[in-house]
Subunit: 360 residues, 2 copies
């Protein structure tokens, strides 16, 4: 194994080293067949088996019910911001949104093109430092769905529990899918870009309840209709074969790690270590309110921007990389997705303790 | 080097072996930095340099004029079928199409959602076995553009010369971009999926004249506006980093091979070898009319479907793989893109001669 840095990047992010090694081998010579993985026709028996295996593992690991389709699309979660309302809204139709950060704001903007939008909650006034409890907002009557972002990468907030309202949920889970168990049947659509917990950038997993497939207005282009991709097993056109392969390998690794429930416990412990370091003194301050804290992204500040810059630079020198916070809120951020090793968190905690002692 | 088969697949297709080896190394340890290529943040200095280098090489190899943007998008050429008319047409606006195969038919279908469509030529009646000469059709007055597919993968036809009409061309070059020199200034938009001459599936190169960026109607979603991606250097959202990296490495390889003009000569010679084998007797019949023959995809038939099946099976046994024709026209097809080695063509020609002798 090569000497690896600890990569706290928010995405694309750290992947299991074993997956990188598998991909490296298969890219040159897939299954020793004398052809590279990325040279395989998507219609070949070999690649069809890869795609099928990937879908089976996604279904198994998230306990996806039989009345849901699992799609592998392109265009990132950003394309789902408009595809969801383009397929599910229309003149006179309404949706309710929880505005918990930049990504929900972007989704709200796109939904307004296709229907009525009700923003039932926003934490924008407090730099998106929290997500709501159920009793803080009301879903607009006649809404088609309630839209939320389960984990807000930039601010380090996360819904500890999903809303329990009498309405179908649509959820952007880009930054915490497969990090914890959940009940898929509460959701109409779950979507997530792969580049945090699933694989490389370039594929978006969409889990969609089958009865939603035929609601699309007539004038929507073929490629933007969920039905198109559901009918063809995500092979209506050439899919991003390499990214789908990698998702399959990451899913396989996750299964080997004990699955989502086991991973959730490990994620809780990793996050607790870091939050412990933040709460252990007066030097560090967490950005998110405690009840809204994320297990995936820990955003925090030091006493001054100068100290933050020095903290980030000194950390990088000892192989703790990518700790700079998002430009919209500044400060520091540690992204510790499924594949981020506990040892890296421990090393960061040690460094935080030392840095606070040296700079208090 | 591993023992490689000759892969005649129409796409994803054969890539330069040196690129596969580079990718394999960088996936595990990019530039020996202790981080994998697909783990790099798209905002990192390292990946920004990869993306920049890729664009520079695309521009250099195709002599792209300064008033054109080069974009790296997702969703395949199939997404351009609707993005082009969504951005350039609208109520009362018209475009003229040349219908030379399945891919132009699909583009015509999507364009009809957004404006008026005139089909000025179609070879559908003769199984798309030819493309038109300039004097065979008229561009409808007041058309915004003339749309064509430069090379038709399924039927093995190709425009030997691009139309010389007094109108902006929009061209799907998915299966022959970088295979021959061309004058980009004749085109408003050139687009191409990467998975034939440029790299793996998962990225689409769009070369667009800058004055076309601001014609988009107001109600088009942010992600579907060319301007969005042009403004952000294709980094409005997370781009498919691995696919962009690979395109860059393939471009680098192409430059090492002498560039597009040198590659064009090699492609002509490879294709001539195969067409020579087809024309050398009465056993094989080319699908395309001679004037419309493609340098990239050679579609041909044998005397009977039974012989075709045996031909394909026996060829596979000796490492000549992927010779089955597209299901829509049957028969055989050899796709010999830039990276397909001349030795593979020679081996196929030898096999064709032997097979004809044994089965005549």
């Amino acid at each position: 194994m090569v000497d690896r840095i600890y990569n706290f990047s928010p995405g694309p992010a750290t992947l299991p080293y074993s997956v990188l090694e598998e991909a490296a081998k298969d890219i040159v010579n897939f299954n020793d067949k004398g052809i590279g993985l990325i040279e395989l026709s998507h219609r070949s028996r070999e690649f069809m088996a890869v795609a099928e295996k990937t879908e089976i593992l996604v279904r198994e690991l998230l306990s996806v019910p039989d009345n849901y389709k699992v799609l592998f699309l392109q265009g990132g979660a950003s394309s789902q911001f408009f595809m969801v309302p383009m397929n599910l809204l229309g003149t006179g139709k309404k949706a309710t949104f929880l505005n918990t950060g930049v990504w929900s704001k972007k989704a709200i903007k796109e939904a307004k093109i296709f229907g009525e939008v009700e923003v039932a909650f926003s934490s924008e006034d407090t730099s998106f430092n929290r997500v709501p409890e159920d009793d803080e907002y009301t879903v607009a009557p006649d809404s088609e769905y309630l839209y939320l972002v389960s984990n807000n990468t930039i601010y380090g907030t996360q819904f500890a529990k999903f809303p329990e309202k009498d309405i179908m949920l649509i959820c952007d889970m880009s930054s915490d899918i497969f990090s914890r168990t959940l009940d898929v049947s509460k959701f109409g659509i779950i979507f997530a870009g792969a580049q945090k917990n699933m694989g490389p950038a370039g594929v978006t997993v969409v889990i969609i309840r089958e009865d939603l497939l035929n609601r699309t207005p007539d004038n929507v282009p073929t490629m933007l209709r969920y039905q198109t991709h559901a009918d063809k097993g995500s092979m209506f056109n050439t899919p991003p074969t390499f990214a789908i392969y990698c998702v399959g390998r990451v899913m396989n690794w996750l299964k080997d790690q004990g699955g989502v429930a086991a991973m959730e416990k490990r994620n809780q412990k990793k996050a607790a270590l870091l939050y412990g370091a933040i709460d252990g003194g007066n030097f560090y301050r967490g950005h998110a309110e405690k009840e809204s804290r994320s297990m995936m992204n820990i955003a925090f500040n030091l006493p001054t921007p100068e100290l933050e810059a020095r903290f980030i630079a000194e950390a990088a020198v000892i192989g703790l990389d990518g700790l700079k916070g998002h430009r919209s809120i500044g400060g520091c951020r540690a992204s510790i997705y499924n594949a981020f090793p506990r040892e890296g968190v421990e090393k960061l905690v040690d460094f935080m303790t030392e840095f606070a002692e040296n700079n208090s």
